[in-house]
């Protein structure tokens, strides 16, 4: 017989395939977090100081928060392909998740900067600091304290949303799980593995974030 049954059982080589998917999830989440956070800090700061930027970027933030990530991924994929900006699924995922991350981070940064009491900023200025020194040594450290816990929450959302990058052809953990389910029909074992993987990342971090939130509030 020249053919093999499509329904092959799990083999040890599949562990390697899953490990690759795991690594891809980490790579995508890390890249999108980095890009999105840096862009979000700049955007959030600009939105705090400039009325024009605030009005001009409001639709960007509003739209990214009201359209499902799956649609954003598909749009990033097709738009970047049309414009000729490469064909790598990693890149599509980074752009879509990074854009979302920058929008939501900007809002956290803005809220945190606004939460710094105006008296602190005024006293810093009256001590002879210039605007940038005040931002760097007074506002940013204080805003960091308030913004850290919400930002961690956003990173967790991003990690969970990265499970959708499979729709643009990126083989992250969820997608590799699904591929193996289709082949082996070991549905529960593989699904439990995927659930455990995300849970083991997200649960400790969200516990720590809640702890942090309580500490900051006191």
């Amino acid at each position: 017989m020249q053919f093999q049954f499509a329904n092959q059982g799990l083999a040890w080589s599949d562990a390697y395939f899953l490990a690759q998917g795991l690594l891809n999830t980490v790579r995508l989440a890390a890249a999108a977090t980095l890009v999105g956070t840096l862009a979000g800090i700049v955007l959030g700061w600009l939105r705090t100081v400039s009325m024009t930027v605030r009005i001009a970027t409001a639709p960007f933030i509003d739209i990214l928060r009201s359209v499902p990530m799956i649609i954003q991924l598909i749009l990033a994929n097709s738009l970047l392909s049309i414009l000729g900006f490469g064909t790598s699924p990693f890149w599509f995922g980074t752009v879509a998740l990074g854009a979302w991350m920058s929008a939501v981070t900007a809002e956290v940064v803005r809220a945190s900067l606004l939460s710094v009491p105006v008296q602190y900023r005024k006293s810093a200025r009256s001590l002879g600091m210039n605007g940038y020194q005040e931002l760097l040594y007074i506002s940013m450290p204080l805003a960091f304290r308030t913004g850290l816990a919400p930002w961690i929450g956003l990173v967790l959302s991003l990690i969970k949303d990265s499970a959708l990058a499979g729709v643009v052809g990126y083989i992250e953990y969820m997608r590799s799980t699904q591929i193996l389910i289709t082949r082996t029909h070991e549905t529960w074992l593989l699904l439990m593995g995927a659930g455990l993987f995300y849970f083991l990342i997200c649960y400790p971090v969200s516990r720590y974030s809640r702890h942090l939130e309580r500490k900051v509030r006191v």
Binding site: I70, M174, Y198, F199, S206
Partner: protein, 223 residues
């Protein structure tokens, strides 16, 4: 018509499929509202259980909350669709999406409600109990109406999150807005045009939900 990199945009084909997309949007709205109601009904007792801090009800709702908040929504959908399917319990994709989005909503709403319950003075409960109300009566007539007022914004945001999550229906072959778009574009592969229109429809649904819930809030609380 303008071209980018030789690409010609072609919108009329989307226009022709608009009835199909709108039918999908209607399914999206249905599941969103149903999952919002189911999530709320489950989250109310779970929030009370979470606040008690002990007992089997507390442990049950804590499991639910942590599981729904710390795993991807797509994992939760696969669990109900493929996971149950492996036990030969085959549920339609509509039900799978409704159940998984309700599951997710309930987990997040429980925590939102718990925050709201914490903001209400404990004496409110003992006062209504001493007026002769039973425990469920005091929660329904005294505690919850106040709680919803406190958590309203976060509650509506979660409802919109639930709406965004219904788009996962596309992955299990449900023809809600995303699935219908995926189907409609597969005849022409005008992916960008189709999904841009879909994004716009999602945006309008989100704004519509936001607006109508704010209106409802004003009517109910007259503020």
């Amino acid at each position: 018509m303008f071209g980018m990199n030789g690409y010609q945009f072609y919108w009329s084909i989307v226009w022709d499929s608009l009835p199909l997309l709108l039918a999908g949007a209607w399914v999206t709205i249905q599941i969103t509202i149903l999952a919002f109601i189911v999530g709320t009904l489950i989250a109310m007792p779970m929030a009370v259980a979470r606040q008690q801090g002990e007992g089997w009800a507390y442990r049950f709702s804590t499991w639910w909350v942590e599981l729904s908040r710390n795993t991807p929504a797509v994992f939760q959908l696969y669990l109900f669709y493929f996971g149950l399917g492996a036990f030969h319990i085959n549920i339609p994709s509509y039900a799978a999406v409704l159940i998984s989005v309700s599951f997710n909503n309930a987990g997040y709403m429980t925590e939102i409600f718990r925050g709201g319950l914490n903001a209400i003075p404990r004496q409110q409960l003992s006062a209504s109990r001493s007026l002769g109300m039973t425990s469920p009566q005091s929660f329904i007539h005294v505690i919850f109406p106040q709680m919803f007022k406190v958590i309203f914004l976060a509650y509506v945001t979660q409802g919109i999150w639930g709406m965004l999550n219904t788009s996962l229906g596309m992955l299990v072959g449900l023809q809600e807005l995303s699935g219908a778009t995926q189907y409609a574009q597969s005849a022409s592969f005008r992916t960008f045009e189709f999904f841009l229109v879909t994004a716009l429809i999602y945006y309008l649904i989100a704004k519509g939900l936001q607006f109508s819930s704010h209106l409802a809030f004003r009517l109910i609380y007259r503020s």
